[in-house]
């Protein structure tokens, strides 16, 4: 594991972005350690290709590095910003390359043990939680969200693919996402975080 600058581990995401804006490279490293795993998983899910996924994650983190000074915490969490950059980059590439695929990924191999075990436990809990919430959505809403987010389809493409009016697709995406928001209201399982004070 990376033991450099462990102190940064106790700063909030937003404080790290502010430090990255001041060219503090270790802050970028810490943001990668927090969100690189989710970022790569997402890019790989959309792009189905290791090299393209790596490029998308690199582009997104370099965007963070270049534009950290203009990040507005009031508009959303830093983790949302980072994963939005990764997603947008991956979707741009998948649309350009026409390589998107809709089947779920084959089960990923269990990562090696050692120091990563505790972290894996957390990643698995998050995955279970969001998957369980997705399963509670009506099939058509879940399908619209998954094809849009993981498949990279635009709403017009989805309307055509599913043989539905675009208004129906919009409404499925909106209702599905709003319902998911309710299902994920669970402060103890926030993916972004604020430090616990021990003083």
């Amino acid at each position: 594991m990376h033991d450099v600058k462990r102190e940064l581990a106790h700063l909030s995401d937003e404080a790290l972005v502010a430090l990255a804006a001041r060219s503090e490279q270790s802050a970028l490293a810490e943001l990668y350690d927090r969100y690189g795993r989710a970022a790569y998983g997402l890019a790989f899910r959309v792009l189905r290709d290791e090299a393209l996924a790596e490029d998308a994650v690199q582009d997104a983190f370099l965007s963070v590095w270049r534009t950290a000074a203009r990040f507005v915490p009031e508009r959303g969490a830093a983790s949302t910003w980072i994963l939005t950059l990764v997603h947008r980059r991956a979707v741009d590439v998948v649309r350009r390359e026409q390589r998107r695929r809709t089947e779920p990924l084959e089960r990923a191999p269990e990562p090696p043990g050692g120091g990563a075990v505790d972290e894996e436990a957390w990643v698995r809990l998050q995955r279970e939680r969001v998957q369980a919430a997705l399963q509670q959505l009506p099939d058509q809403q879940r399908e619209a969200l998954e094809l849009a987010y993981y498949g990279g389809f635009t709403q017009s493409e989805l309307a055509e693919r599913l043989g539905q009016p675009i208004g129906t697709i919009k409404s499925r995406m909106f209702t599905g996402l709003a319902r998911l928001r309710e299902l994920l209201r669970d402060p103890g399982m926030e993916t972004s975080w604020t430090p616990i004070s021990t003083s």
Partner: protein, 236 residues
Amino acid sequence: MDADLHELTAAYALDALDADEADAYEAHLAQCESCRTELATLGKTATALAWAVEAPAPPERLRSRILDAAAAERTNVVPLLPQRRPWLLRATAGVAAVAACAAVGLGVWAGLLSRSLNSERSARATDARAVEILADRASRRVPLKGGQGVVALAPDGEGVLVVRRLPEAPSGKTYEAWVIPHGGAPKPAGLFSGGDRTTVLRLDQRVPRGAVVAATVERSGGVDAPTQTPLFSAQS
């Protein structure tokens, strides 16, 4: 037209608009407070989908590749590449970033830097039983209040505490977990040092229904009854 654009918030959050639609929506967003509010929460929900993916871990080399590229860029002024501007970024943000940084507090920052790098951290391997309980779909998950994490409870009451990003316990102190049965006295349920990205602790005590699991900071070696207010807790 505006009502139409209003409805695009979810599609925008999912990146399901084509370039023209996205431009039109962003122009609308600049003038629509309610869409901005809606987007803040729907955008967060959309990115939650990133965590649902079962995908391989990134190759080790990616981290250094990114950091090397970042270091190379910062040594000379690089113009921003022409790309669609994410909504979260606007020219006014510099002020907010500085404010966020000031809010961290220079004192806190200095304190964090001066904390000894090589202070002892227990190299305890994660208990195999804890991993089993976490992997067991039959175990219940109770989110923590006051902290980030969860208590996983097996059907027989065996419990595992998972806490994220707990700072290392201050010198001479330890974290102590407690199981507090409904109407009963707190029972010591294990000591831990924090300081890891994620702490996983199998509780020494079974957790009956209705009990509270909590943690306090106590003197090294632990105590028999809590002397401090809980940092976080979970009601089973």
